[in-house]
């Protein structure tokens, strides 16, 4: 079969791959995106939908801030509002000691020049989240944060990428990567593709792509669980997260409440399947029971988990390959990559197309695992 050709092959049709492909197309770069299932099939389509700058690792904050600017004009970018709405994210402190720790963090961010996190007292917490249990003394808010519909968002990026000229090959699996002249030959289940550059945005499968380059990474396949309840009367606007106990909590516009927070199911990545752990979901249910008494009689209608990648230090791998010129990595977002999709894609497209970027990505390089 004659090889397809492109300037760049993007591997993976999650929000990161689709965003990078769109931003490459916007720069006039001929791009083919290869996805083994369909766009948004895994974590990008079934995550909690939090669009959160709050409580991020310092190394991610520049990408997060750049992403936030894109989220705020998401309809202009992808032609769909993606269900994005902004009512802030609130990190609730459950004790005075916890609140003191939050204060240190907010002060540290200020010294670094980041002002999006704001310490709040009990009065402001109860104003923002009236239903929260009275034992909580305060918290931190990031007021521009919000939530979006994850599958719709990923599909919107995919659709706009196609409109801008990206070829999206779904149900096509990458089976090999090899040098060809100064570029790359990407072997797939639908024939070879020749391209100058390759972006590895393969999520929970990205370690296999890296391994093809002789660049093994300690990637852990995880499947964070979520539950959704039946509709209940509107009682909470912001997304609520906890630090001490694992919880993220938000009410959607239709009244359903999504409960997450990072308790893990057992993933079977070769079968696209997960097995839920009801013991851990019980822990989630108890946390909600204590924090939001109003939720006690709500009905849980569905629980699920999406398959994704976690790195040992819980921050992603973003940047050029350490072994293979012309290959770039964008994976390992460790259960908090959805918000980062728009900005990381823009940054990655800039890096791939021009060889440089002004967005700081220090600390995210793949080489950190060789040390």
């Amino acid at each position: 079969m004659a090889a397809r050709t492109a300037d760049v092959v993007v591997i993976g049709g999650g929000i990161h791959g689709c965003s990078t492909a769109l931003h490459l197309a916007l720069r006039g770069v001929k791009t083919i995106l290869v996805e083994k299932d369909h766009a948004g099939r895994h974590a990008s389509g079934v995550n909690a939908g939090g669009v959160r700058q709050l409580a991020r690792h310092v190394a991610e904050i520049p990408l997060s801030i750049q992403s936030m600017a894109l989220w705020e004009r998401i309809e202009e970018l992808v032609g769909d509002d993606c269900g994005f709405s902004s009512a802030g994210t609130v990190l609730v402190a459950e004790s005075d000691e916890e609140l003191a720790g939050f204060r240190e963090r907010v002060d540290d961010l200020r010294l670094r020049g980041f002002t999006h996190e704001e310490l709040i007292d009990q009065a402001e917490l109860r104003r923002l989240v009236p239903a929260v249990s009275e034992h909580c003394p305060g918290g931190v808010v990031s007021r521009r944060d919000g939530a979006a519909d994850p599958f719709r968002t990923t599909q919107a990026f995919r659709r706009r990428a196609v409109e801008k000229g990206v070829t999206v090959l779904e149900g096509v699996r990458v089976t090999g990567l090899s040098r060809q002249g100064s570029g790359w030959r990407v072997e797939t289940s639908d024939g070879p593709i020749e391209a100058a550059k390759v972006v590895n945005a393969a999520g929970a499968w990205a370690d296999r792509i890296a391994a093809m380059l002789g660049e093994p990474v300690p990637l852990e396949v995880i499947a964070p669980m979520l539950m959704v309840t039946s509709r209940v009367p509107a009682f909470i606007d912001p997304v609520v997260i906890l630090r001490g106990r694992k919880l993220s909590f938000k009410q959607l516009e239709n009244g359903t409440v999504v409960i997450g927070g990072g308790h893990l199911a057992t993933p079977y990545r070769d079968e696209n399947r997960t097995v839920l752990d009801w013991q851990k979901l019980t822990t989630s249910a108890r946390t909600v029971w204590e924090l939001f008494p109003v939720m006690r009689e709500a009905t849980i209608v569905r629980a699920w988990a999406g398959i994704e990648a976690r790195m040992p230090d819980d921050i992603p791998v973003v940047g050029p390959s350490g072994t293979s010129e012309g290959v770039y990595h964008q994976f390992g977002f460790s259960a908090h990559g959805f918000q980062l999709g728009p900005g990381t894609g823009a940054m990655m497209a800039e890096l791939v197309a021009t060889g440089r970027t002004n967005t700081p990505i220090d600390g995210l390089e793949i080489g950190r695992f060789k040390k």
Binding site: S230, L276, Q279, T282, V301
Partner: protein, 464 residues
């Protein structure tokens, strides 16, 4: 029995107390296997033998001999030594056979070495215009009220659709002294021609004489109109039923066009399913002992493909024999060949019934503003338009329309959505596929889940 009284593990968990579940539990318990049977209803019986032993309808002729055949099955199950827990809702089953169950508002996780799913059938969606109006319900729901509470339909009642259960319900209502304004028979005329090649088997089966008698009994008392269309109309509640060339004022419309396997639990457990073109539904992929593609999990009864109540009991026995053999190889067991022969006899004539009662395409694949998913109020036009936009399957459709994401978990819309996408995109239902169902397969409250014993939770977390 309370949730706290259950053991944390059983050799065999049987889910569903209809004929398949009762027969399976009885056989396994008698063979000395520790067996628990869960059913969410207040008593045993399933749909076909609902409220057997507890029904206020005591005049035997009303519900008929086929109903009372459930009595010995229930008695056998109760005497077998199996632990029978009614009012127990199974909301989760995973591939390691961990069963999530709720009893009296308290949840438990029970480990099973083998599982037999005997959750039977549910009524095929019948999405005609106006089917969500108050005053329109399924024939099955009306039959439940009759069996369990002795309630007869009140007001002017019209039955519409096809299939043996619709005629049986009509006869039961009439025998109990109820009144039916009209039957609207939606069996496509050409079905009789298509079914003819299967007639010889059918003539040898017990269905033949029973079915004929039922038709005569109903036709003698109720006007029957053939029609290809049915619509319910009314402002806020049912006022009239429209059909080809006529309209009838009505207070109650009972709809029915056959039953299909309830695949939710097996699907959520990860069992593979395939499209059955003759029965127009998804059925689990099963081996000769009704074992699914998930080791240790079997599906017996109508959940394995529609075969009827008497066949269901034999299927339950076959699945139970396989389970006992795996658990306790030296146990004394009935000869499986005899059971298989009985099953074969009971399944005779099924092909004729399937083809004769195949609902028309138009009544399975609605158009326009007819509601498809009633939980989320999604119309046929929305589903068709979204398929045209490029949406390839029911799981992607969820994200666009939320169809199938309400509390019923697709029980009322799943097949309709698959068939509409298939028609719109020129694909087979097999290729389109079905919802990936997420537990809990039955809704549970946050309080119930929070009630799961934590000591047990921690112990299990260590074991796994």
């Amino acid at each position: 029995m309370n949730a706290a009284d259950l053991s944390s593990s059983y050799d065999l968990v049987v889910i569903g107390g209809g004929p398949a579940g009762m027969a399976a539990a009885a056989l396994a318990a008698k063979a000395g296997v520790s067996t628990v049977l869960f059913d969410e209803n207040p008593g045993l019986g399933g749909q076909i033998y609902r409220a057997i032993g507890a029904s206020p309808v005591t005049q035997r002729a009303i519900l008929g001999d086929d109903y009372w055949a459930g009595e010995p099955l229930a008695a056998e199950a109760k005497a077998s030594g199996a632990t029978i827990v009614t009012g127990a809702t199974v909301w989760s089953l995973d591939p390691q056979r961990l069963v999530g169950v709720s009893i009296g508002g308290k949840a438990r996780l029970i480990q099973a070495r083998r599982v037999i799913i005997a959750t039977g059938a549910l009524e095929r969606p019948f999405p005609v215009p106006g089917w969500t109006l108050p005053g329109v319900m399924t024939a099955g729901a009306a039959q439940t009220a009759l069996k369990a509470q002795g309630l007869l339909p009140a007001g002017r009642t019209v039955l519409a659709g096809n299939g043996p259960l619709l005629w049986l319900l009509a006869a039961q209502i009439l025998r109990a002294g109820g009144r039916i304004e009209a039957m609207l028979d939606t069996t496509p005329r050409r079905n009789w021609l298509l079914a003819a090649p299967h007639a010889p088997d059918f003539l040898l089966s017990p269905y033949w004489s029973k079915g004929l008698a039922l038709l005569r009994e109903v036709k003698a008392k109720v006007p029957v109109h053939r029609t290809a269309t049915v619509a319910a109309v009314g402002e806020g509640k049912l006022a009239e039923v429209l059909y080809d060339g006529g309209r009838i004022a009505a207070d109650l419309l009972l709809l029915h066009q056959g039953v299909v396997p309830n695949v939710n639990l097996a699907n959520a457990a990860g069992a593979a399913h395939q499209w059955n073109e003759r029965q127009l539904c998804f059925v689990p992929v099963l081996d000769a002992d009704f074992g699914t593609t998930v080791p240790g999990i079997a599906v017996a009864g109508d959940g394995a493909g529609i075969g009827g109540g008497t066949a269901a009991a034999e299927r339950g026995r076959i699945a139970a024999i396989a389970a006992v053999r795996a658990l306790k190889p030296d146990a004394a067991l009935p000869n499986p060949d005899n059971v298989r022969q009985k099953l074969q006899r009971e399944e005779m004539g099924r092909a004729f019934l399937d083809v004769l009662n195949r609902p028309s395409d138009a009544l399975r694949r609605p158009v326009g503003d007819t509601i498809v998913c009633r939980c989320e109020e999604v119309t046929a036009r929305q589903v068709r338009d979204t398929a045209d936009m490029g949406c390839e399957g029911p799981n992607q459709m969820k994200a666009f329309l939320r169809s199938g994401m309400g509390p019923c978990q697709g029980r009322l819309c799943g097949l309709t959505v698959t068939e509409l996408i298939a028609e719109q995109r020129g694909m087979t239902p097999e290729a389109v596929g079905y919802y990936r169902l997420r537990p809990p397969v039955k809704p549970i409250t946050l309080a119930e889940l929070a009630s799961l014993p934590i000591a047990e939770a921690e112990r299990k977390a260590v074991e796994r």
